[in-house]
């Protein structure tokens, strides 16, 4: 959680968000839950050819 708090403080600064400590802590709490979701996906192996999104087309 401390790592995530530090991450939120740095990432918020990078996005030029002026937030007080209480807001940063609340966001860190939410991001901790999101991180649990991300962990579920990180360990899941998929073929390298699995495209991340629809193939880009230069014209439609």
């Amino acid at each position: 959680m401390n790592d995530i708090k530090s991450y939120v403080v740095q990432a918020a600064a990078l996005q030029e968000l002026a937030l007080d400590t209480a807001a940063l802590e609340r966001i860190a709490t939410v991001l901790t839950r999101n991180a649990e979701m991300a962990r579920l996906l990180a360990g899941f192996e998929m073929d390298e050819s699995q495209e991340p999104a629809a193939v880009f087309r230069a014209a439609v």
């Binding site: 918020a12 996005q15 030029e16 968000l17 709490t29 939410v30 999101n34 996906l41 699995q50």
Partner: protein, 458 residues
């Protein structure tokens, strides 16, 4: 009264559109205070549209198919001359919409009369319609409980019988959850089927729009009318409208039905599981099956929602954090700050999951699952105990809907209710572009009186 019956009554002169509108406006004025559905009533527009229909009848011109049917829209749909709130106080300062959203315009042209815009979770990020600025929308079946969300106003306004139907949007379950909590029918079509032009976005790659109504036949009629390509929505399919009303008489003949177990039982209370068993049995289900990696699919939907929703609102949040809905702003900011790799891995899983589920539809046409883990919860509740686990309530409401909209499958939400119990819906899930099968199965449950949509009377 069906849409066709109402049209016939106007044609025969036993009903006038003006009388319908005046009666409806009186009902809203008398009863909506207890539910808080409407954020805007479009009385002037409704009266004008009603006079136009009565004038058509007076001069012997043909009446459009939805003549005299009344409706309301989630307040994220553009309505000409009205401000599109999208559930937000900040949006109240925006200019009024120049024109109707595409689906609103198609319904208007079909003779439906718009009575107003209804409440929702701010920017559609929520499942309970507990809106800090516009108040909660209360469930007509028990006003101490939520109406679900984020299209809670759209569910409640139909359940209360204040309109004939409504429009909602569904990113992770926002049509199906209010359908379940309020006990009404809902249709979340295939991703890209109905145009979203003029609907305030939340998550571009997951947003759908669709109808909520009192029965499956109404859903089919509305779905037919709202279809068709639209250049304003890049995701909208270039497909001609597919007619489904004539298919409903086939019921489930020839359809291969299975009930979903595993994840969909694990995250459902006993009454929700029982509802899905009743529906599956009535539809002649031949199997109980598990889908692969549903937990991960839900996690991926969760992360994509947070990232895209957060990115959309980041500029406004950076300037107006204090004015943003308190229940939403920290979740959006957390999403905006997520590492990019999380988002990309979630998108990769989305493609993987779509391929696996496509294989399931080689063997089955309709999959049955509960729409919500539990019935409507009390207003103000933050936590829920679900099968022995204590979970944050608001995100958990969408546990059973999120993995399905994640890959854009069409789903009909069909209300089930036992005597003395709160309503709960089941999901009838079909392969992409097979809304006809969703609606056939929904109509079959309705005909068999297994489904039950109780309108709360005055």
């Amino acid at each position: 009264m069906s849409f066709a019956d109402r049209r016939e009554a106007i044609l025969a002169g036993t009903l006038s559109a003006v009388d319908i509108v005046e009666g409806s406006l009186q009902g809203i004025s008398r009863r909506d205070e207890q539910y808080n559905c409407f954020t805007r009533i479009t009385a002037t527009r409704a009266r004008k549209e009603a006079r136009h229909l009565d004038a058509l009848r007076a001069r012997g011109a043909p009446l459009p198919p939805l003549a005299g049917a009344t409706f309301a829209v989630k307040n994220l749909f553009d309505v000409e001359g009205e401000v599109t709130l999208a559930g937000s106080r900040l949006n109240a300062a925006r200019a009024p919409a120049a024109r109707d959203a595409t689906v609103v315009a198609r319904l208007r042209d079909a003779g439906a009369i718009l009575l107003g815009a209804v409440n929702m979770d701010p920017y559609a990020y929520g499942f309970t319609t507990e809106n800090t600025f516009y108040g909660p929308t209360r469930n007509p079946h028990d006003t101490t409980r939520t109406s679900g969300g984020s299209s809670g106003g759209s569910g409640a306004v139909v359940a209360a019988g204040l309109v004939d139907f409504s429009l909602g949007s569904d990113t992770n379950g926002s049509i199906r959850v209010p359908s379940s909590f309020c006990g009404v029918y809902g249709l979340k079509p295939t991703y890209g089927r109905l145009p979203r032009t003029g609907a305030y976005p939340f998550v571009h790659s997951l947003d759908h729009v669709g109808p909520l109504a009192h029965d499956a036949c109404d859903l089919a009629a509305l779905y037919e009318i709202m279809q068709g390509p639209d250049a304003g929505d890049p995701a909208c399919a270039q497909r001609a409208p597919e007619l489904v009303q004539r298919e409903l008489v086939k019921a489930v003949a020839g359809l291969r039905v299975a009930r979903l177990t595993g994840y969909f039982d694990r995250w459902a209370t006993a009454p929700a599981q029982a509802a899905s068993r009743r529906a599956a049995s009535a539809l002649g289900a031949r199997a109980e099956i598990e889908l692969p990696e549903v937990e991960r699919a839900r996690a991926a939907a969760f992360l994509i929602t947070a990232a895209e929703g957060g990115a959309l609102h980041l500029p406004t949040l950076s300037r107006h954090y204090e004015e943003f809905e308190p229940l939403t702003r920290d979740r959006l900011l957390a999403g905006a700050l997520q590492p990019g790799t999380w988002y990309l891995q979630a998108q990769r899983l989305r493609a993987w999951f779509r391929e696996r589920i496509a294989q399931v539809f080689r063997d089955y046409d309709v999959l049955v699952a509960p729409a919500t883990p539990f019935p409507a919860t009390p207003l103000g509740e933050d936590w829920i105990d679900l099968n022995g686990q204590r979970l944050p309530l608001r995100p958990s409401v969408g546990l059973l809907t999120q993995p399905l909209s994640f890959i854009g499958l069409p789903v009909a939400a069909v209300p089930m209710r036992e005597d003395g119990e709160l309503p709960m819906a089941v999901q009838l899930i079909c392969a992409p572009w097979r809304e006809d099968n969703c609606l056939r199965a929904a109509a079959a449950l309705q005909s068999a009186a297994v489904a039950r949509c109780d309108r709360v009377g005055p």
